[in-house]
């Protein structure tokens, strides 16, 4: 049994205005919830900024090239890279990768490095995360390596091509949301 509402409700504003306020409030809540869920679960950065390094490792003098990033330098001092004593930065490429658009980087040391930015996510409380497909071709165009990786922003991904104990070629890639 519902008594007439006007007998017990306090009317602090007109019914129509109160109705509009409630409708707008609920609409805002729904929109914010949808945006929040979408942002949390499927946030995608349309473009990421990547740095690609060509490094020659050897047992000669010279140490670690000062042009290398400090984070990468720390890793080069640890095994298995510590088996080499010299790391020389041969080339540095900086490029922006668009989502799901392949890009080739011509290597100074020869060959081609192809990379495809496939996916991006931003889990709650975590760093941005990228999915990248990488293909490495030799000078003759023959596919040497094909891989797909998922890494955090700022992480390094290194392909070490070792022709023996004396010398190796390192191809390092790191990406960030601009």
């Amino acid at each position: 049994m519902n008594p007439p509402s006007h007998t017990y409700q306090t009317r602090w504003m007109p019914a129509a205005a109160r109705c509009r306020t409630m409708v707008v409030t609920w609409a805002a809540v729904v929109v914010l919830a949808v945006l929040g869920i979408a942002t949390d679960a499927h946030a995608e950065a349309g473009t990421i900024h990547c740095t690609f390094l060509e490094i020659t490792a050897s047992n000669g003098p010279g140490g670690i090239d000062p042009g290398l990033d400090a984070n990468l330098t720390k890793k080069l001092r640890r095994p298995p890279f510590s088996s080499w004593t010299s790391f020389t930065l041969e080339a540095k490429h900086q490029t922006d990768l668009a989502l799901r658009k392949a890009q080739d980087v011509a290597l100074k040391i020869g060959g081609n490095f192809g990379v495809l930015y496939e996916q991006h996510s931003k889990p709650t409380g975590k760093r941005d995360r990228f999915g990248l497909s990488v293909a490495l071709d030799d000078k003759s165009g023959k596919r040497t390596l094909n891989t797909k990786i998922v890494v955090d922003t700022g992480d390094y991904f290194v392909i070490a091509l070792s022709g023996g104990q004396e010398k190796a070629t390192l191809l390092a890639l790191t990406c960030r949301v601009p």
Partner: protein, 213 residues
């Protein structure tokens, strides 16, 4: 006119209204029987009573149609069927709605359901808060890679390698690895201390291959 038991006009009016006890009523009846003056007064009181009663009955009969809608609305509001004028009661909400805008109608509806809406909102908020507070931690799965070397795939099946468990909560993953020249291995150098940058390394031994690059 007997004065053996005197009664005043108030007593006569009370007698005429029938509000006296039996013994007093009998005494006044005896008094009226003996007194002409009292009979005249009592007859006048009866006429006045009759006139007032008639007037009120006529007024009630005249007012009843005007209150039918009100009574019907009250009874409809109480959840009971209208007794006297069901058609009028059914027509009343339509007349009440007539002339109201959609916002006004929606407002009226919300007036009646504000309690439910507020309860739902509070419940939803509480549920969301509980989900945020007690959601399970994200499970960090060991990254699994599939290593495939076409040159050796015919003689041995592709091996599934497990990367070492990493301390980093956001361990890198290698979903696919194909090494077409030489042999490959994968390892991860996790960050240490303030350095939380992991480095994933694919180590390709091409010592037995002629000039891949």
């Amino acid at each position: 006119m007997s004065k053996s038991q005197p009664f005043d006009d108030i007593d006569l009016m009370t007698y005429a209204d029938g509000e006296l006890d039996d013994s007093t009523a009998r005494a006044i009846a005896a008094y009226v029987a003996d007194s002409d003056d009292a009979r005249v007064k009592l007859a006048g009181l009866d006429e006045i009573h009759e006139s007032v009663r008639t007037h009120l009955e006529l007024a009630a009969d005249d007012a009843e149609p005007r209150f039918e809608d009100l009574w019907a609305a009250v009874e409809a509001g109480l959840g009971a069927e209208a007794v006297t004028s069901a058609p009028a009661a059914k027509a009343l909400p339509q007349r009440q709605l007539a002339g109201k805008g959609i916002w006004q109608r929606l407002g009226d509806w919300l007036d009646q359901h504000t309690g439910y809406l507020m309860t739902g909102a509070v419940a939803a908020g509480a549920a969301a808060a509980l989900m945020l507070l007690f959601r399970p931690p994200e499970v960090i799965e060991k990254p699994t890679i599939v290593y495939t070397n076409p040159s050796t795939a015919r003689t041995r099946p592709a091996a599934t390698l497990q990367l070492p468990v990493l301390a980093a909560p956001s361990a890198p993953e290698i979903e696919l690895l194909e090494v077409n020249e030489g042999s490959g291995s994968v390892f991860v150098i996790p960050g240490e201390g303030e350095d939380d940058i992991s480095t994933t390394v694919i180590f390709v031994d091409i010592s037995d291959v002629e000039g891949p690059l």
